[in-house]
Subunit: 274 residues, 2 copies
């Protein structure tokens, strides 16, 4: 998907919400466990109920891999269902991959071509030749981990390298990669105050922001520090939306939670005059 | 697998060779493409022909994911085959995963429990709470990327953080993680001269060393700088062994290549008096 289409959707829907499909069979409504493919049944219901309120879905691959073959199959069915029924929605494989060149090409093919995702999250530790194979795909997007929402981010990401935090070094260096225009970045909402400095380095890039809600990040702060002239934000919520209820009304309740966030986003767009 | 068993195998086989099962259908002998599951057929033949010459196998998950469901299935059959027929061999899922806590737990379950691998490679960028969920599994091993064999390693890994290279900071910090005794580290053979300094920080840990052969690293140098009193090395070769021939003799030729490396290793063990 090209970015103009994504930005267009944000304006149409007055939303820059990404819904994380971290589907866990211990948390889905028990009545779904009777279904032949409960993971897909859950995802489908959530998607059908929320697609008009969000602009992106982000399945975290770990949740699918944990169920082995049947999880991998459910992931395939989910992305196929999205591409067939809601092609206007941006799709993110939250896979946090990254390997040496020929291997990264394999991952890129797996997620961009075999599955048909619009984007994938990538860990930057292995540097240029681990990232560029993903960037080579036009109209596909590589979302590099910059500053993550967890406590462990302070172990290395915020450490100073020549006076610059490592995550800033990652941002700066990534801009020199071939096809850097296909980059986006993960920046955790729990560290919203860092967003001002991040915007100085990557003023135009989209930022995928997890950590609003369950992890404690503030939507208002993220918008204040992180929004750019093209909005430039995809704010993710997973558990807070998809597990809003364990009853038969789970999809409607998820839509209600998504609607709350969408309305807050609409408010921010109005306040910031976008 | 506990480490004593692995060390015992190294002595019995006079080998610390790990064979990388980076199975690519464009490179396997064409006659295998007639098989129902050519990926598994290739792996099985390679394993049957080489298991007495190596102490570990390392499938890189990217190669399997690239084939979607059938690749994932072949990976499952490969690890099942190894565990059923050669349980003395150490198995490594070269997956380079890493995510926030509850998600890392999912990955750990997927690879340690669902698949039954002995170990997994992990990217350190997200820090403590992304690594510790893997370390919580006793007799399972977490192989942290420290200094990788590719050019991109110089982007961040060798950058100085408070006067210390980032990869050294990763080694030092990881030693403070809970259950750090379950850690091993990836150190590329192309950077063998760094091994002396690395051994000062992690004298007792096993190092998984890719990059001998195709990528240009020297076995002799790696042994000189990297071997410790318990050997402490797993040296990986992938393409140089498994694609030794594209003919019907491919497994025998792979065994020949593996045997060459095993004999060099035996020589090193003798020279270094281990």
């Amino acid at each position: 998907m090209d970015l103009e289409k994504l930005i267009g959707q944000i304006h149409v829907k007055q939303s820059f919400l990404c819904i994380g499909l971290d589907t866990d069979l211990e948390k889905v409504p028990p009545h779904l466990l009777q279904e032949e493919d409960p993971i897909f049944a859950f995802n489908k219901a959530i998607i059908d109920a929320t697609h008009h309120l969000c602009v992106a879905y982000k399945p975290n691959t770990a949740f699918y891999e944990a169920y082995g073959l049947k999880g991998w199959k459910a992931l395939g069915k989910t992305i196929d269902y999205l591409n067939a029924n809601y092609p206007e929605v941006f799709t993110i494989a939250d896979a946090k991959r990254g390997d040496i060149g020929n291997t990264s090409t394999r991952y890129a093919k797996a997620f961009f071509e075999e599955f048909g995702f619009d984007s994938i999250t990538i860990a930057p530790y292995m540097g240029r030749d681990s990232v560029e194979p993903f960037l080579a795909f036009e109209n596909k997007h590589t979302i590099l981990l910059a500053l993550t929402s967890n406590e462990g981010a302070y172990d290395f990401q915020t450490q100073k390298v020549d006076g610059t935090a490592l995550y800033e070094k990652v941002l700066q260096t990534s801009l020199t990669y071939k096809n850097a225009h296909n980059l986006m970045y993960v920046v955790g909402a729990t560290k919203a105050s860092f967003l001002g400095d991040i915007r100085k380095i990557v003023p135009d890039s989209f930022l995928l922001v997890p950590g609003v809600g369950a992890q404690g990040g503030s939507l208002k702060e993220v918008c204040h520090y992180g929004m750019n002239q093209h909005i430039g934000l995809l704010i993710n919520s997973s558990r807070g939306i998809i597990y809003a209820s364990k009853n038969k009304d789970f999809a409607a309740m998820a839509a209600l939670k998504a609607k709350e966030l969408q309305q807050q986003m609409q408010e921010e767009l109005k306040l910031l005059g976008r």
